[in-house]
């Protein structure tokens, strides 16, 4: 029997696949440094706070990237197939890109429901959970609640606590180390919270407009009143009519600060600011949004400093 090219090629595929299985297989728990992959940099930062040098952490999305629209690139599969733990934001934030990556990874440990899959939203206080009829007429609404919940330090503490419990479950030998790291993080967070509260105290009740609904937890925590959005509906680009209505509202309410995430175009916010005399402030929703924002503490340091400066400049 004469072998034809397709037969040779198909045979090669399977020979290669079968010859190198050990190189592809992820190590078992505890066999080497524990690998954690997170959906976003914020989850990575919190995991790092707890896991320290006993784990390695990699994030799929970058901090300056819109976490709703991440491309499910095959290079992410290289990370996921080796992961011992996957930490996701949940609440359908990653619904457009993460599920196929998990399925394609060939890693049983991080499949939904497996011990190595952790949805951090279960630990956090979730706001804006819709009630009643939910339709797409409301825009790209998240039926399970607003997924930007890590922007409240209290939620950060709770998420870190949940991650600590999961790491302890998967790496019980390092339980004391994770506990110590968590307590240290919690204490440092308490100290930082006092500073942040002090800085934001003069601006309690200030009304702001934001581009997207990224800030409900942040606003609640620091006493801000978000009264309008540049987007007419979540995920819907600004329309001229909505922009005019927003300008009128801002003038009426004397709103002087527009908060924009770094991945949105500044053209419309700037034109609104010109009309109303407001200031556009590019706040970071995630760790890594700027080079110097390298951890969870620096995220709030950065945002609160910018915001306080904007409020002072625009009383």
């Amino acid at each position: 029997m004469r072998l034809r090219f397709p037969q040779i090629l198909s045979s090669c595929f399977f020979i290669v696949a079968l010859v190198f299985p050990s190189a592809n297989q992820a190590p078992a728990f505890g066999a080497s440094k524990f690998k954690v992959v997170t959906a976003t940099t914020d989850m990575a930062a919190l995991t790092e706070e707890v896991g320290g040098d006993r784990i390695t952490v990699e994030s799929i999305a970058r901090g300056y990237q819109d976490p709703h629209f991440v491309e499910a690139k095959p290079s992410f599969l290289l990370k996921l197939r080796q992961a011992d733990l996957l930490v996701v934001v949940g609440l359908q934030l990653e619904i457009g890109w993460l599920p196929p990556l998990i399925t394609q990874s060939g890693n049983p440990r991080i499949q939904v429901g497996a011990p190595g899959y952790l949805d951090a939203s279960q630990f956090a206080e979730i706001l804006e959970i819709p009630t009643g009829v939910i339709t797409r007429a409301m825009g790209d609404v998240h039926p399970l609640g607003n997924p930007h919940y890590w922007l409240d330090p209290e939620n950060g503490r709770r998420i870190a606590g949940g991650i600590q419990a999961k790491l302890t479950e998967l790496k019980p030998d390092d339980a004391a180390y994770f506990e110590e790291r968590f307590q240290s993080f919690s204490q440092r967070l308490s100290t930082a919270e006092k500073t942040w509260d002090e800085e934001m105290k003069p601006f309690h009740g200030r009304k702001v407009v934001t581009y997207h609904r990224s800030w409900p937890n942040f606003a609640k925590r620091f006493g801000l009143d978000v009264v309008g959005y540049v987007e007419p509906r979540p995920g819907i680009p600004p329309s001229p009519r909505h922009t005019v209505e927003l300008i009128q509202m801002m003038e009426r309410e004397n709103i002087k600060v527009i908060v924009v995430e770094p991945y949105f175009d500044l053209k419309t916010p700037k034109s609104i600011a010109r009309e109303t005399g407001a200031q556009v402030v590019v706040l970071l929703p995630s760790v890594g949004g700027e080079k110097e924002v390298t951890d969870y503490f620096k995220l709030f340091d950065y945002d609160i400093a910018l915001l306080a400066q904007a409020f002072k400049s625009n009383p």
């Binding site: 090219f5 290669v16 592809n24 991440v70 095959p74 949940g90 009643g132 709770r158 606590g161 419990a165």
Partner: protein
């Protein structure tokens, strides 16, 4: 007279006795109520004292339980600082007590694809207006080891199972297997559903050599695996075995007339924003002339993508080419045809995308006949869930006839349609 006196006395005495009796009852009831108030007050004080007592320091939090997707946590109240929320929170109930059971239902979506065509095409005419396809998707995780995906297409002529398969996600050795009916992993365009194509139609080479819209879509088994390669290169091998019945491409007259498909895909991030995708595929099966005659297809595809992460929703660029060779055995000779398309898209802003495509292909049954064409495409996105597209298409068919057409399309998504693989 005596009776009258007695009656008068009764009239005076009875109300007095009744009043006296009522007064005693009321006083007793008041006493009982006062006692009850005292008891309640003491209970309230006890509760207040318990609430005001300091919370014991948080020890290692209890192991949390993950909520599966689709399960909704409710907003918590009175959260003690530093403690994770209770692991099990109730599902929001929107439609009554039975709504919790619906959480296990599959995600359901419908995608409407309405197409219109103007202009003249005498070789492959399209209807002026057509509800081209309604794709119903049902997707869910089956158990800890597998997930299921079904896509039914309802056209004006009937219903078809476009895909319906189980994916085993927890196999050892990093293998991922699928069993069911599926679009084969031959090339790129063949794997894509209509609604994710960057054009309204499919390239001429797909029509001429790979079975057009249906393509190689068959019942079978698929196994794929990521292969270990250094330097951040992603390499994936896929092997598939099908019944051997894929529209115009493969037919089976005996059970042994199976078809096979193999694909090797290499991918690398060149920079944070740019990546290169290369693929090599083959497909082999028996054609409609009988078991003695085979058709073999080979595909080479390249894709270059650019998407700046900070402005990913506003700008991106994609350039893709796919070259396909066909060898079709016939009684007289082997028809060896070749075709390709090369296309690119550029996203101008959040709502507008412009693109173009060049086509050239021989025909599988007569390689001497070659069709060529080009298209210009403009797409408008009102939101993520709807899309309007216009396409000017020029085709010069091998018969010597030219077709100038304007196609337009409305695409709209209902429900929760899961993301497709990259």
């Amino acid at each position: 007279m005596r009776c009258v006196n007695i009656f008068a006395c009764l009239l005076i005495l009875v109300p007095g006795l009744v009043w006296a009796q009522t007064k005693d009852d009321v006083q007793e009831q008041l006493r009982a109520l006062e006692e009850r108030v005292h008891v309640l007050e003491s209970e309230v004080q006890t509760l207040k004292a318990a609430q005001a007592a300091p919370t014991p320091p948080t020890q290692a939090p209890p192991p949390p339980t993950e909520l599966p997707p689709g399960q909704a946590p409710a907003a918590p109240t009175q959260l003690p600082p530093g403690a994770p929320l209770p692991p099990s929170r109730p599902l929001p109930v929107y439609g009554g007590a039975s709504a919790a059971a619906k959480a296990l239902n599959p995600d359901v979506s419908v995608i409407g694809d309405f197409i219109g065509a103007g202009g003249r095409n005498t070789i492959r005419p399209l209807p002026a207006l057509e509800m081209h396809e309604s794709e119903v998707g049902l997707q869910a995780i089956i158990d800890p080891y597998a997930r299921g995906d079904f896509f039914f297409t309802f056209g004006e002529q009937g219903v078809d199972l476009e895909e319906g398969y189980i994916t085993f996600t927890s196999l050892p050795g990093g293998f991922v297997a699928r069993v069911g009916k599926m679009r084969s992993s031959f090339g790129v365009v063949n794997t894509l559903h209509n609604h994710v194509l960057p054009w309204i139609d499919r390239p001429v080479v797909s029509e001429d050599l790979v079975g057009g819209e249906d393509g190689i879509d068959d019942a079978g088994v698929s196994v794929n695996r990521i292969l270990p390669v250094p330097k951040g290169i992603f390499l994936e091998a896929t092997g598939q075995v099908f019944r051997g019945d894929s529209g115009d491409v493969f037919s089976h007259t005996r059970k042994s007339d199976i078809s096979t498909v193999g694909r090797l895909r290499a991918y690398r991030d060149l920079t944070e924003s740019t990546n290169l995708d290369l693929g090599l595929s083959f497909a082999r099966g028996h054609n409609d002339l009988g078991s003695a005659y085979r058709t073999q297809l080979y595909d080479l595809d390249t894709t270059l993508r650019w998407k700046p992460l900070r402005r990913a929703i506003y700008h991106n660029f994609l350039m893709r080419s796919e070259l396909i060779w066909s060898e079709r055995e016939e009684p007289s000779a082997v028809q060896r045809a070749f075709g390709f398309y090369t296309a690119s898209d550029y996203r101008l802003n959040r709502r507008w995308t412009v693109g173009g495509r060049y086509d050239r292909s021989g025909r599988a049954r007569n390689a001497a006949l070659t069709d060529t064409g080009f298209s210009g495409v403009l797409t408008y996105w009102p939101s993520e869930f709807s899309q309007l597209r216009g396409q000017y298409r020029f085709t010069r068919y091998a018969e010597g006839r030219d077709a100038n057409e304007f196609l337009f399309q409305f695409l709209f998504v209902l429900g929760a349609h899961g993301a497709h693989p990259f």
